[in-house]
């Protein structure tokens, strides 16, 4: 019988199609369906002390995720020639979570675009700027919906 329904965000016939071709079932791809109930049941079955530990770990992990920035603006002093600016781009691009670097040369600002759910330590940014040969000044974190414009603070 050809069943048409929903499972894990996919139609059941799509699920069966994937399974028949050896592809991963949708739940493996991050579609949990009613797996939450299973999680809750499992959570309730563990000891109280273990539950507290799990909650603590979840809070520690979730904190940085929910506090993640979308961009970071770094004021860089000493930046006065395009040939010198290359080192800055080179040092900032490999930082974890950085997806793009834009140097606002005239204003002396660098904008780091961050990947979803990532954040970056201020000390790491300052170290990278110094390794490029410049002096880091103000660092402004831009959260979603912040509407912050570094140009207003730049010269």
């Amino acid at each position: 019988m050809h069943r048409v329904g929903r499972q894990g965000g996919l139609r059941v016939d799509e699920v069966n199609e994937r399974r028949s071709h050896g592809g991963p079932p949708p739940e493996v791809q991050g579609h949990q369906g009613c797996a939450w109930r299973d999680w809750l049941r499992a959570f309730a079955s563990v000891r109280a002390a273990s539950r507290r530990t799990i909650v603590l770990v979840l809070l520690l992990v979730a904190g940085p995720i929910f506090a993640a920035d979308t961009a970071i603006h770094v004021q860089v002093d000493g930046l006065a020639c395009p040939f010198c600016a290359y080192g800055l781009e080179k040092k900032l691009k490999p930082l974890p979570g950085v997806t793009a670097v834009r140097i606002d040369y005239q204003a002396g600002w660098v904008e780091l675009t961050l990947g979803d759910g990532t954040t970056l330590e201020e000390a790491t940014i300052r170290r990278a700027v110094r390794a490029a040969g410049f002096t880091p000044r103000a660092i402004h974190r831009v959260a979603p919906g912040d509407g912050y414009d570094p140009g207003e603070e730049g010269r």
């Binding site: 002093d77 395009p82 010198c84 080179k90 002396g108 490029a132 040969g133």
Partner: protein
């Protein structure tokens, strides 16, 4: 023969390029490459010296292709190596007719370190002070011969000697202009009965951004810079078998206009050195000009 050549050939040793992070053409800069950064700078330099006060009517041409490599050990300490390829040619009248002598080959490699010891950074400007110290190694051949026998030492690609150098550089860079000044002393040691005189170079360079006239609100622009440099050199007399050569040494002052096209990873430049003062000892040849063209690329 050495006596009549040496002074005019002082310029040969002055043809080594200064591999700068940025940016003058002849003058050093206190700016340094970033940590882990590599800058390769290659030039083509050609010198012509004439005006022989003697009956030999000497005419000297020197062409050098120096390649300089800079490595940023840290953002404050850079290591340098300059590898020159040298071609010298001297024409002169003799009782047997007009002769040409010269040699081509690898010159003396110079290695040195530059340490940035003082920095003041502000928004859109920087002022820096650096010290350099290093050694010129006797990698170039200095025993070349031609039909007339051994070629005079100043025409050889290499000096044969270990020559230490030390200097200081100061730079003030802004978004619109830059000023650099350096003083570099080079001590030439003796090898096989010959030693170039010690030299002191003092240079001053000014650069002005010609294009773009107004910087864009966002992003990194490409610069067109006008460069004007003033280079002074004091050179001691060469020593031949322990005796000072009276036809060598002296002091010169050169004015060097130039132009540079500067991107974020590359730089193209050209300039000409024009002597405005040439106070040379004895019968030294006077430099007519030195033309420089070059590229830099950074990784």
């Amino acid at each position: 023969m050495i006596r009549t050549l040496a002074a005019g050939l002082l310029a040969l040793v002055s043809l080594a390029p200064w591999p700068a992070a940025a940016i003058p053409i002849q003058t050093q800069t206190a700016l340094t490459a970033h940590e882990g950064g590599v800058i390769v700078r290659s030039q083509y330099r050609t010198l012509r010296a004439t005006g022989d006060p003697t009956a030999a009517d000497r005419e000297l041409r020197v062409r050098v292709v120096p390649t300089a490599i800079v490595y940023g050990l840290t953002a404050r300490l850079n290591l340098f190596a300059i590898v020159p390829y040298v071609d010298t040619e001297l024409r002169l009248d003799t009782p047997a007719g007009r002769l040409t002598r010269g040699a081509t080959g690898l010159g003396d490699v110079t290695t040195f370190a530059k340490g940035r010891v003082w920095t003041r950074d502000g928004p859109g400007w920087t002022r820096r002070f650096s010290l350099i110290g290093g050694l010129e190694w006797p990698t170039g051949d200095f025993h070349r011969t031609d039909a007339l026998g051994e070629i005079p030492r100043p025409l050889q690609p290499g000096s044969g000697s270990y020559d230490p150098l030390a200097g200081a550089i100061v730079t003030w860079q802004t978004l619109g202009w830059q000023v650099d000044a350096d003083a570099v002393y080079r001590h030439h040691t003796e090898r096989a009965g010959f030693a170039f005189g010690d030299t002191l170079d003092v240079d001053l360079a000014a650069q002005l951004r010609l294009r773009p006239r107004r910087l864009p609100a966002r992003g990194l622009p490409t610069y067109l810079n006008g460069v004007l440099e003033l280079g002074g050199r004091w050179a001691g007399k060469d020593a031949v078998d322990g005796r000072a050569d009276p036809d060598s040494g002296g002091h010169t002052l050169q004015l060097s206009p130039g132009i540079q096209w500067v991107g974020t990873r590359w730089l193209v430049e050209a300039g000409v050195q024009l002597p405005i003062v040439q106070n040379l000892n004895g019968d030294g040849l006077e430099t007519d000009y030195v033309i420089t063209s070059g590229v830099r690329w950074q990784y």
